[in-house]
Symmetry: C2
């Protein structure tokens, strides 16, 4: 229970003396420091309903991960710096280092994938399905509205081990679909491509092997920039011929259902005579039958322009985007405004520019068959090939989508309190039954029932009712001055519709039984607001 306004509290005769002393601390705590009362740039506190929604997203996803046989692990928030080195290409500059205070050099983890590969290699694990929900760190330019933070959560599910091709890959795609639909997000598509097909296309177009990754990075920008801009990057900045660029352009324009694009590519002689592209295409053929078995083919768009930034992918790559990811109506205007600011010599406001690209991809993943092996070999272990495939849910972005269902969020409670214990009596001499309220509370706590009472020896009835209503809890247990002396309590439903219901008088000893019964009635009547919110139902 958190409150930002605190009504003045009336003093109680019995405890007034001590309370005065209590408050007299005020004078003795002068501090001369001047500190900024804020969290570091790109980080935030989570509290109240936001926290409840986020926790519900985590619990929804982890129950899906468990449903697929996943086990969870927990790795340290920082790793030896050498473990992270050379894994993220250009983005390595975004890694947070810890200060060298003597001892090992360490850095905050950038993602959960590299620590997972380190874990698998270090423990000689031959197969594992693991999920991990934890924070990662990137010294990026924050864009809060876009959900881009320096500290943010990832929810990852990965399958490591030697298996028949596309079996774990198709399950990751199924998990992606199950996760988003269970969270009430139905208007998404999965852009899917295959690194081997893409690399094959680059070979066909005449890109040299050593240039493949940087051309791939250029193509990766097609979700934000038109082909003409990317083409210029390929020819001018990356020194490829016009012919190479145009050949790439022909292919990366292709997209459609898995079967449509498969049909086009399988009839393409350049593709079938390129070893890499052919391998990739054979895997797509197998994948088609598996996604049909899962009934998820309608979500998938085979899109040859998808390249994905990270170096470590070796096979299937995919990312889910929603229609909410499309530029908002006023994006052009915002972009224009941001440009103007730059012209005037100011720094471009990232908050403005970011609005243009929307929330971006909300889930992403792919196959990375060499990462575990890199660790095994680099540490001098007997090398075993442990291929991996995974899927990573971007919680901050999903959170923004879920939270847009505002009208439902209004009903979410941040406490779980079920019972508020009150004492009504009167007369100056009456002690307010505080130890008695505590005794009843203890009985209910011991029975696992969420219970509160006002932290006041002698509390007036109005304040107790206000506090109970504020907490949103459905039941009150009332110690009436006279009734209690006769060994009785009153149990009453709370809420406006029960304003004229006096409740039921019961023996004190029955309190756990009666309260439990009434609560199960309450919860039969009610609907879980959080589940309703997550599923996007009205």
């Amino acid at each position: 229970m958190s409150e930002q306004k605190n009504p003045a509290t009336a003093a109680n005769a019995q405890t007034a003396n001590v309370k005065k002393q209590h408050q007299s601390h005020k004078k003795s705590s002068k501090s001369k420091l001047q500190v900024s009362l804020k969290t570091p740039k790109g980080t935030k506190d989570w509290a109240d309903k936001d926290m409840v929604i986020r926790e519900a997203i985590f619990s929804t996803l982890s129950s899906i991960f468990k449903r697929h046989g996943g086990v969870t692990i927990d790795t340290p928030v920082f790793e030896l710096r050498e473990i992270l080195a050379g894994k993220y290409g250009e983005d390595s500059k975004l890694i947070y280092n810890l200060e060298d205070q003597g001892g090992e050099l360490t850095s905050l983890r950038y993602d959960l994938t590299v620590p997972f590969a380190r874990f698998v290699a270090m423990n000689n694990i031959e197969k594992i399905k693991r999920y991990h929900i934890a924070k990662v760190y990137r010294r990026d330019q924050p864009a809060m509205t876009k959900g881009r933070m320096r500290e943010f959560y990832q929810c990852d599910f990965d399958i490591a081990g030697n298996y028949d091709p596309m079996v774990p890959d198709s399950e990751c795609l199924s998990i992606l679909v199950e996760g988003l639909t269970k969270l009430g997000i139905h208007d998404f598509k999965i852009k899917l491509n295959h690194r081997k097909i893409l690399d094959g296309i680059f070979q066909i177009a005449g890109v040299k092997d050593e240039d493949v990754r940087k051309i791939s990075s250029a193509v990766d920008k097609l979700d934000k920039s038109p082909w003409e801009v990317v083409r210029k990057e390929i020819t001018v900045e990356k020194n490829q011929t016009e012919e190479t660029a145009d050949k790439i352009g022909e292919y990366v324009k292709l997209n459609g259902t898995l079967e449509e694009v498969y049909d086009i590519l399988s009839k393409d002689e350049s593709i079938s005579s390129n070893e890499k592209a052919k391998q990739g295409l054979e895997e797509i053929a197998i994948l088609i039958s598996y996604v049909k078995a899962f009934g998820i083919e309608r979500f998938i768009s085979f899109d040859l322009s998808l390249a994905r930034g990270l170096d470590y992918y070796t096979g299937l790559i995919y990312e889910a985007v929603t229609s909410a990811s499309a530029p908002p109506k006023d994006a052009a205007e915002l972009k224009e405004k941001a440009k103007k600011n730059v012209k005037k010599g100011e720094t471009a406001d990232e908050e403005d520019v970011s609005a243009y690209v929307g929330v971006g991809s909300i889930v992403a993943g792919g196959r990375y068959d060499n990462l575990v092996n890199m660790f095994s070999e680099a540490s001098g272990k007997k090398s075993a090939q442990i291929p991996c495939v995974g899927v990573s849910f971007g919680v901050e972005r999903i959170f923004s989508l879920v939270k847009q269902r505002q009208e439902l969020a209004a009903n979410i409670r941040s406490t779980s309190t079920q019972v508020f214990i009150m004492a009504f009596g009167g007369g100056k001499d009456w002690n307010g039954y505080l130890p008695e309220r505590m005794q009843i509370a203890k009985k209910l706590w011991n029975a696992g029932i969420e219970t509160e009472y006002l932290y006041k020896a002698k509390a007036n009835p109005r304040k107790q009712f206000d506090a109970a209503e504020k907490s949103g809890c459905p039941l009150a247990v009332i110690l009436g001055k006279e009734e209690y002396l006769q060994g009785k309590l009153r149990v009453k439903r709370l809420g406006p519709e029960f304003a004229h219901d006096d409740g039921e008088v019961i023996p004190i000893d029955d309190v756990v039984k009666v309260v439990s019964e009434k609560l199960s009635q309450v919860h039969e009547d009610g609907v879980d607001e959080i589940q309703k919110l997550l599923q996007g139902l009205r």
Copy 2:
């Protein structure tokens, strides 16, 4: 599901070609780096059963915190360095700093209390009951066996707000008792003291105000060192007179039930004429009636030698110790060995020395009325006194105690898998029903049922049974080659006691209904092993 041995997999004709390509990656991933395959000093990975036990501890504690009206918050893992400055006395040297890579200076959080106070001050919160389960960081000498890590979890519950004295304090004590007993730890006692009484005693003994905190630190060592050693520190190192030391010695020897020690102190004229001590004692009088209401007075030992290290406490202080915290039998020997190593010019092995002091306190807490105020004042906000009291569970230490119940841990599964889908057939031409197994799995997943199958197109029955048994799941759904063609599935219990049970043949369309029914039977029969483990039952 994680396995460290992987049986060689027989190739399947349909997919052999692609698989070969899959494995050919092996050659292309040579890396020349030499890296240490380990986690940083004082950190570790959590996995398998340890992870399951730890998660169960978290869920037990958070359900208790919720039961008391708690809401959870999440703060960043690093804070502005100035927020942490000047809060931890001598221990400030243990704070991990992030490297100055441009921008703000930040440090990893040392505990959850200071970030909580920053949160309360920053958001002008007047009252909140919050819990927070998260990692904290201390560059201490690690002692794994003692449960002392550089990265470890704290589970904190704190109540902020102006309330009648001792009401929230006694609830924190009740939460301490509920938490430990719910986790099966019954042989503990709560050492309790009051900073005002302690400070009063120091005044009575003639300690100057500016020396109080350092004398308090000396007294804090009484749990590890005999009085003679502490007395020497007070007189020799901390420059107090013999008389002062002896006066302190008289008081700090006192311990007993709350009422016993209260009686002694309330008859002591020095105490009743010292303003601070008198205030503290009045609060103890109130506390006595509240802990009686909660029925937890038998756990409490009023112990005037308890001082607690941290500067920020202002009232009640307490810590729970277990009999398991006492030195093990071979402690003296280990200590001797450690000393010898030092004599030989080697570094003392902390692992050895630490065994001497056992696991130490497993829960600790107290009242800190000025911390929020310090932040408000230092940031120039209108200052409001927000008194706080809290309790912090040391999970790593509790984990060690719970895990000692080895015989129970043996039964814990790390996956939640309930159903393993298999296909039996035969003949070279049979395709292994993999897409069909996927279809059935998808039905069960959509019904929320944890389901796995072997990631193999054509799997032999033995391997499928082995995998199912290894997962420990109770049910198999079997696609028999002939039965499936007739629209039928076989549902069968797994486990040695069902070896001769052929199961039941059902229509495919009934699979969700039948599996759900059978699983509810299974779980009625069974007992939750984790709950049994936590509660220490056999």
